[in-house]
Amino acid sequence: MSGTQSQKRRRVVGHVWTAGKYAFLAAMLLFFLFPLYWLVATALKTQAEMFSVPPVWWPERFALDYFRDILFRSSFGRLAWNSVVVAGGSTLLSVVVGTMGAYSLSRFRLPFGLNRHISFWILSTRMFPPIVSIVPLFLIMRSLDLVDTRLALILAYSVFNLPFVVWMMKGFFDELPRELEESALIDGDTPFGAFRRIILPLVRPGLAATAVFCLIVAWNEFLFALVLTQTEAALTLPVGIANQVTQYEIRWGAMSAAGVVAMIPLFVFALLVQRHLVRGLSYGAVKG
């Protein structure tokens, strides 16, 4: 008798626990997803809907006016192109230079414990707050007359992308057995030939994920671009959007639409790297 009662009580507690758990999960899901929805919805509203109180939860008709505005009637296209060039250029630079360096660090024993020293130095650059780098970088770029050029940003983004590539790729190379190149070397291949024909194809998935991470970081970067660019010759999208926000009269619609457009490549990137995401975001510390 008492046995069934305590069983019943346990079942009730179990139900309450399950209900509480799903309520918590639902609240979390709403908290994380609603802001994303709200940006997209705002960009699709009309002027009247945007400022309506109470808020319009679902836009009446999808107004594409703001998208048309930013795409055809402003410097948005120019800024987007700058972002593409800077993100692409800096990624290419960091991936090529970094992969070569990582291979050398992973495979060869250099004198004076250089492997260890260089690896530690590269990891420690992750600790550098960007504001610490940008003050001297600005003065250096100014003396080289590179301020307000896309080249300045491409070079400056190597500050964080190059160490990232070296660190990630070293991890991927370390996972491959050395016997792979050794047999190629016996067959009379050069070290470079062994690297290019045998190792590079094997790390291609890791290399692609690493490159996508560099693209994301460069596409999103704000502080360096804010300091190193001034005109449409080099302004990137984040700085363009920030200029909208910090003006006296804020153009909310255009700003939201620009935000949505800046977000689109990241949707694609997120799907591409999701398998390597934890590893990339944790700087290789967690191999999830």
């Binding site: 758990k21 999960l25 994380f32 997803l33 802001p35 994303l36 709200w38 945007m50 309506s52 109180v53 109470p54 070569m100 360096g101 990582a102 050398s104 060869f108 260089i118 650059t125 600790m127 550098f128 707050p129 960007p130 504001i131 610490v132 780098s133 003050v135 001297p136 970088l137 003065l139 250096i140 190597s158 190059l162 050395r178 016997e179 190149e181 070397l185 999103n220 704000f222 502080l223 804010l226 984040p238 959007i241 920030a242 926000v245 910090t246 804020i250 939201s256 935000g259 990241l266 949707f267 990137f269 799907l271 934890v278 975001l281 944790s282 700087y283 510390a285 967690v286 191999k287 999830g288």
Partner: protein, 303 residues
């Protein structure tokens, strides 16, 4: 056969026998890093000892650092950065851990779910700022709109414009952006824990809390430390979102250390003083990360 393989093994390991190949491959990376990380560091140490004006530079020795010690704004921005960090770290850790524990057995966070959860953290921080300005706007923002529907009087809820609330509002933004990151790292950590210790605990009749306290938590500690270390370093440098959301205002209420250095250097062109503050921030960051790394090493090599 074994003997044949032995020769190239040593030749591959030792760089000398490969001629210049290893150095040739490493040289561009080292050169670029020297130019972009070491040279600027030396440069900033130098200019921290100077006063830079358009007319030229004067050597002032430790004056910039003395000024820093007496600058209440410097300490306020440093304090606010730490306050923001403490609030965000705490909430992100608890929500991230709760989510990871609840979802560990339920779903394999794959595919669309993971991609959606990823979005806040890989979104441009500037866009994150835009989103939350749309939410926090006191007049037509959706937060006050929703509160009004619930019958709350929102006339005095100005969020980012209220000095006593603005910093907390920024914490919420960071929690939104980065809790999924903490969650994903802790989930990866949980899923890497083997089954055996749990089975042993079940046989011993441990309670759920005992199992969590004595098995899950210690085995999850490295993942927790990595997540907290990375979040700490990023929070110490927080800039973009604050720049978009409040510009450090109202007044000085949400000024972070990065923002204060930025304004000093690029609005007031006081590069020497900005350099001195940058060095203090760098040292603070190194000390804090050293602290975490010490813990991490202790965890990895149990005595």
């Amino acid at each position: 056969m074994e003997r044949d393989l032995a020769t190239p093994v040593t030749s591959l390991r030792r760089a000398g026998r490969q001629g210049f190949f290893p150095y040739l491959f490493l040289a561009p990376a080292v050169a670029l890093l020297l130019a972009l990380t070491v040279y600027p560091l030396l440069y900033i140490v130098r200019i921290s000892l100077y006063r830079l004006t358009p007319a030229g530079e004067t050597f002032v020795g430790g004056e910039n650092f003395l000024r820093l010690v007496r600058d209440p704004f410097f300490f306020q921005s440093l304090g606010q950065t730490f306050l923001l960090m403490a609030g965000a770290l705490t909430l992100e850790f608890f929500f991230g851990l709760a989510l990871a524990l609840l979802l560990d057995s339920e779903i394999r966070a794959r595919g669309l779910w993971r991609a959606l959860l990823l979005l806040p953290m890989i979104l441009p921080p500037v866009v994150v700022g835009v989103i939350w300005r749309l939410i926090y706007n006191p007049n037509f923002g959706v937060l006050n709109g929703a509160l009004q529907l619930l019958g709350v009087d929102t006339t005095r809820l100005t969020w980012l414009a209220d000095p006593s609330v603005a910093l907390a509002a920024l914490v919420v933004v960071d929690v939104w952006e980065w809790t999924p990151f903490v969650f994903l790292i802790l989930l990866a950590g949980l899923q890497a824990i083997p089954e055996e210790p749990y089975e042993a605990a079940r046989i011993d009749g441990s309670s759920a809390w005992q199992t969590f306290r004595h098995i899950t938590l210690p085995l999850l500690a490295p993942a927790i430390l990595v997540a907290l270390l990375l979040r700490t370093m990023d929070l110490l440098r927080l800039f973009d979102q604050v720049f978009i959301l409040t510009q450090g205002g109202p007044g000085f209420a949400t000024e972070t250390i990065s923002l204060y250095i930025y304004k000093t250097a690029f609005r007031f062109f006081d590069f020497g003083y900005a350099a001195a503050m940058s060095l203090v921030l760098l040292v603070a960051t190194l000390i804090v990360s050293r602290f975490y790394l010490g813990f991490l090493q202790k965890k990895e090599r149990p005595t």
